[in-house]
């Protein structure tokens, strides 16, 4: 009996192996690994990147695939959940590379997970582009195989402070807070540096643990009466901060945040309290861009995104779709076919370093040296503000969709 079971198991195993080997040989599509936060604290942002990656794959496949020397290859996305945990992200990436044998990787939403995944892609020499992570730390590490379409926050974060310093009267004092994670901390630091450069006096600068109730701290801040409150954090924390300010009834002249403000959930859950909150971005549906690959401009991408997901696209989703486009452009350039060798992957990195392509998202050009190494520096940072339930660009002046509303309207008069 035992030997019969053993034989049966052997037969099953060999059949499975044979099928796997067969699939490997006959592969006529690109296996794209995606490591992102599909569950856990950062699931909101993770799923926004998923929308961006999905939309890219859907559009590529609808057009028949990526055209490599006259032959079209479809793309298939293989997801691995990073669970909002850097260690889980690293092992997810390792699994995608060693077991799924993906050709390249579309990267995580958060900077923390990206920093954990990058050494893995480095080890196996697999190119990765993140369509979202914004911490400057990723780029100062100079990972050879890691790229990013969204510029680092020290590149974008200065824009809203500059817009504010052009207001009359400009804010004179600021309180800057950030949550203790890679991205949020970097955001708070970027705001601080920009505020100092703009001669705004910083009354308080604190990095606080995630999940912390900020009301007592804000009660203390209220006594300082700062003109500007700037906060680095993820979506849920931003909502809590606005609610806390609302509860203690303190309205600063300007309230500045970064990622999360552009997410539809921010406006939906806060309603009128979301109005006039400022943020930094590199893309809105109204930016003037001319795309050569897939979508001709920002507006057409916005329409496609709305149709696919019934919710407006933000810059992270757009950046994620653009990450796919960057790979597409580089693959076409070197004429790589699925099942790439190590040598071809190296060529892919070289090609990525050389691309300079106009897309619906804006210009994609990765820096090849300096503090922004492999980050996209082809973009113009924008100041955005929530006006009438919509995200609009209010600065710099030449990109303005509407004039900035300043100072903020008191909570109780809304």
């Amino acid at each position: 009996m035992k030997s019969r079971i053993r034989t049966a198991l052997a037969v099953i195993a060999s059949t499975l192996l044979a099928t796997a080997a067969y699939a490997e040989e006959a592969r006529n599509f690109f296996k794209v690994g995606v490591v992102t936060e599909l569950s856990g604290d950062l699931a909101t942002g993770g799923n926004v990147t998923k929308r961006g990656y999905d939309l890219w794959a859907q559009e590529v496949n609808a057009k028949g695939g990526i055209d490599i020397k006259g032959k079209k290859y479809q793309v298939k996305l293989f997801y691995a959940d990073a669970q909002s945990n850097p260690a889980a992200g690293a092992s997810a990436a390792e699994r995608l590379i060693t077991q799924e044998k993906v050709d390249f990787i579309l990267g995580p939403y958060s900077s923390g997970v990206t920093l954990a995944v990058a050494p893995i892609t480095e080890k196996y020499k697999i190119p990765m582009i993140t369509g979202s992570a914004e911490s400057p730390l990723i780029w100062t590490n100079k990972f050879y195989y890691t790229f990013g379409t969204v510029p680092p926050v020290n590149f974008t974060g200065a824009a809203p402070i500059k817009t504010l310093s052009e207001m009359k009267p400009a804010p004179k004092t600021a309180v800057i807070l950030g949550t203790n994670d890679t991205f949020s901390k970097a955001t708070a630091e970027a705001f601080k540096a920009a505020a100092e450069a703009a001669k705004i006096k910083i009354l308080k600068f604190n990095i606080v643990p995630a999940g912390q109730d900020l009301t007592p701290l804000l009660s203390a801040v209220r006594g300082m009466k700062p003109d500007l409150i700037a906060f680095g954090g993820h979506d849920e924390e931003l909502i809590k901060l606005v609610k806390a300010l609302r509860q203690i009834n303190y309205t600063p002249k300007a309230l500045l945040m970064h990622y999360g403000v552009t997410e539809p959930a921010f406006i939906q859950s806060l309603g009128k309290d979301a109005e006039q909150v400022l943020g930094a971005s590199v893309w809105t549906a109204a930016v003037q861009t001319k795309g050569k690959i897939l979508w001709p401009n920002a507006a057409s991408y916005a329409v496609a995104a709305e149709k696919a997901f019934k919710t407006p696209a933000d810059y992270t989703q757009a950046g994620s779709s653009a990450a796919g486009i960057a790979f597409q452009a580089a693959l076409q350039k070197i004429g790589a076919t699925p099942g790439m060798s190590e040598d071809q992957r190296k060529k892919l990195v070289k090609a990525l370093e050389e691309i300079d392509v106009e897309t619906f998202y804006g210009k994609i050009k990765f820096a090849t040296s300096g503090q922004y190494y492999h980050a996209n520096v082809g973009m113009t940072p924008l100041t955005i503000q929530i006006q009438n339930g919509k995200v609009v660009a209010v600065g710099p002046v030449k990109n303005q969709e509407a004039k900035p509303q300043y100072p903020m309207k008191e909570w109780k008069n809304r």
């Binding site: 604190n206 606080v208 900020l214 007592p216 701290l217 006594g223 849920e236 609302r246 009834n249 909570w411």
Partner: protein
């Protein structure tokens, strides 16, 4: 120094929130000896129930509290026999079984919530969340957010009600007997199974109502549960496992520590301070603040 009254008030209000999270959790442990790791998830489900009921009916979440309690008490009543089954019979280490079971329940609930409710963060609007009471006298300036004041009243109300239930009713007598000695209570005619189910029902109902409150003060999302489980655990350990009367004091102490640390010291190390105090107290008195825990 002018910030001290504000710090104290904020600490009390924050403590109020912790009371609501921990009080029923402590009761279940005292009676059923279940460390329910799904407490945060019951809070999360309650918050979503409040969110959707508010959307559907347009009523203020505080009016919806009794409805949420009834729905979730029923759910708790139906779930308890499963936990009872896992923890009874001829099984080694029932405490561990309960722990593992509720931990799995929590993970499952998180997955279900993420699939059903989506990944967005929401908020429950309430008339209370709009205002605050401003006191400016003797050169001091204090704000008391009405929603948090309402939360504190709710916490004290729930504690008083539980106290009455346990100390003044026959049902409460049975519950206390069960907590003291399961077998002896059974011999005296207390139906352990049914009483356990009632207690669990009350616990789930209260946790769900707390969820609605948290949804008003903070936010609602599928992944919100874990942090509240940790705080419930903190408070209950500090109060002494299963010692209900210690919960309000432990909760207020934690709230106060956080508030004072946030204002006077480095906000980056608030949680470290909380841990340090918890550790020190447990080192001196391993059975909690009052030495009355299990």
């Amino acid at each position: 120094m002018e910030l001290l009254p504000q710090a104290l008030i904020d600490g009390i209000l924050l403590g109020g929130i912790y009371i609501t999270i921990a009080v029923a959790f402590s009761l279940t442990y005292g009676v059923m000896h279940v460390i329910d790791f799904a407490v945060g998830e019951w809070i999360m489900f309650g918050a979503f129930a409040g969110y959707y009921l508010n959307k559907l009916t347009g009523l203020d979440p505080f009016i919806l509290l009794p409805a949420v309690f009834l729905i979730f008490a029923l759910v708790g009543y139906l779930v308890q026999p499963v936990i009872h089954r896992v923890m009874s019979g001829n099984r080694g280490n029932p405490l561990l079984m309960g722990l593992v079971f509720t931990f799995a329940l929590a993970l499952m609930f998180q997955g279900v919530a993420l699939t059903v409710f989506g990944f967005y963060t929401n908020s429950i609007p309430s008339t209370f969340s709009e205002g605050s009471i401003l006191i400016e006298k003797l050169g001091l300036s204090m704000t008391i957010p009405t929603i948090r004041l309402a939360g504190l009243c709710y916490a004290l109300g729930i504690t008083a009600m539980l106290h009455y239930l346990l100390k003044k009713t026959t049902f409460g007598l049975g519950v206390r007997a069960l907590a003291q000695h399961k077998d002896a209570a059974g011999l005296m005619g207390v139906n352990g199974k049914r009483t356990g189910a009632y207690v669990y029902a009350i616990y789930v109902g209260i946790s769900a109502m707390t969820g609605v409150l948290i949804g008003c003060i903070f936010s609602v999302s599928a992944q919100m549960g874990a942090q509240y489980t940790i705080f419930a655990f903190f408070v209950v350990v500090l109060a002494g496992m299963g010692y209900l009367a210690g919960v309000p004091w432990a909760a207020l102490l934690l709230g106060m520590v956080q508030s004072i640390f946030l204002i006077y010291f480095d906000p980056g190390h608030t949680l470290l301070a909380v841990f340090a105090i918890l550790y020190t107290i447990l080192l001196i008195s391993p059975k909690g603040l009052f030495g009355r825990g299990v």
